[in-house]
Subunit: 210 residues, 3 copies
Amino acid sequence: MPPEPSPFLVALDLLGIFVFAVTGALVAVRKRLDIFGALVLAGVTGLGGGFVRDVLIGATPPAALADWRYLMVPVAGGLVTFLFHPTVGRLERGVNVLDAFGLSLFCVTGALKAVAFGLGPVPAALLGMITGIGGGMLRDVLAGRVPMVFLGHLYATPALAGAAIAVLLDRVGQPQLVVALAGFGVCLVFRLVAMVRDWKAPLPSGPASV
Amino acid sequence: MPPEPSPFLVALDLLGIFVFAVTGALVAVRKRLDIFGALVLAGVTGLGGGFVRDVLIGATPPAALADWRYLMVPVAGGLVTFLFHPTVGRLERGVNVLDAFGLSLFCVTGALKAVAFGLGPVPAALLGMITGIGGGMLRDVLAGRVPMVFLGHLYATPALAGAAIAVLLDRVGQPQLVVALAGFGVCLVFRLVAMVRDWKAPLPSGPASV
Amino acid sequence: MPPEPSPFLVALDLLGIFVFAVTGALVAVRKRLDIFGALVLAGVTGLGGGFVRDVLIGATPPAALADWRYLMVPVAGGLVTFLFHPTVGRLERGVNVLDAFGLSLFCVTGALKAVAFGLGPVPAALLGMITGIGGGMLRDVLAGRVPMVFLGHLYATPALAGAAIAVLLDRVGQPQLVVALAGFGVCLVFRLVAMVRDWKAPLPSGPASV
């Protein structure tokens, strides 16, 4: 079992969850879902990636279910977004930058938790990526749209890169602070540059084959 | 571990599963899915909420997989609905009342199971709600539609209210019968009144923000 | 715990995963998803059924997360399909035959793993079917379409038949080779004949009831 996380890490984690929750509630508002839909999509986006990771590695009940702060933060993010969605929608560029921050955080914490539960480096990196992108994928499926992460934006690749760097540096015995900062930094810079430059993931060649 | 449930409770539980299974198969028939789709949506609607709860609290394999009656009941509900769907469809008002009964039952049993597995009051109430609404959400996702529960009907809120009441009364030491009846009654009355009065959950204000 | 599987069985398993991954990536290419979408749908289709089974029976982390070969095979299948999709698409008849092979394999291995984890015969057969069809169902939901398995093709029924035969023969003490071959053969022949003869599962009678 990993030791009790520091208050600083918990605060970072809650901030990441809050931002993800805002993106979930924005999708709900744009789909004209009701307030409950906004709260559920907020919760699913904020906590879903970690739930999938914890269920797959057998760390049940997920940590977020043992700590009410982890449940209240998405409620707050969802409510704020539902009530003030025209303002939040106008700030979307800023929301996307904060979302990159949440992605970078979760890919590292997810990967390191998988390592702490005994998984090998390849699955641990994969679980880090899943922790980062899983909530948004569940959000999109529940909102009735194809996951944004499949549509050419470079979103999952930065998460996988950050998770892989963290697993690698942890493997060669670097201190946790170096491990975390390197993984976080790689994902964040990669993602922000991809946003600014509008980098795209390769799409299938030629016309559709059917 | 909770003790062996009484035959009366098992019968109630199976009745709730049967009704949920009927709603699942009705969605399948209306989407022109085949008989297998009707059986799967029946099973997913009847058992899915409990499966999600059990996976999240680590109570695997889920109880329904250890008792063949829990698997046969949705098959029966799905088959009956597939074969006699014009009749079942005409009885939909009655089906909806029975569905409110199933919702009220599952939110309470789900919350109390989460408490029995050591979860705190907030997550336990949340898991009670998930037990009640999770099957219908999975049904809608598999049928290719946005979950009904997001579209302004008051459905999740009664489940959360019933679960919260049950957790609260259990917390202050009330006898199990009082706990269960109060939670069940609050959810049932709330849901039925919402149906009759056509209460709606708040929708986002103003025009869509994008 | 089941003993270490033989290299022959592992090779079969990896072949099944590869073929399922190809079908996942083909769906992604046809939906014009990016390369990452192709890899995720490849992974989800190849490994998803087994993940759902392992999570439900409490066998976490799933075997595929403890063995990097199981993670690399879908990546290879997805990449090959993404790069050469016009060719792969033309070979679709062959892909469908191999897919029937994967289905037959997974329904048997899934059912026997459930038996090994102490589940009764009815849930074990059901979990065998889920192992066979679950990956394709997740693929379709993530790609934004109603699961193919609900649309009249006889796909799930052969998987259930094969799983049931395997569980039954195992129950009466037949040797594992007989059990596996009989379940595999029943599913494969049933599925291939259904494909060739274009057998359909029953659709709902009459016009839609709403």
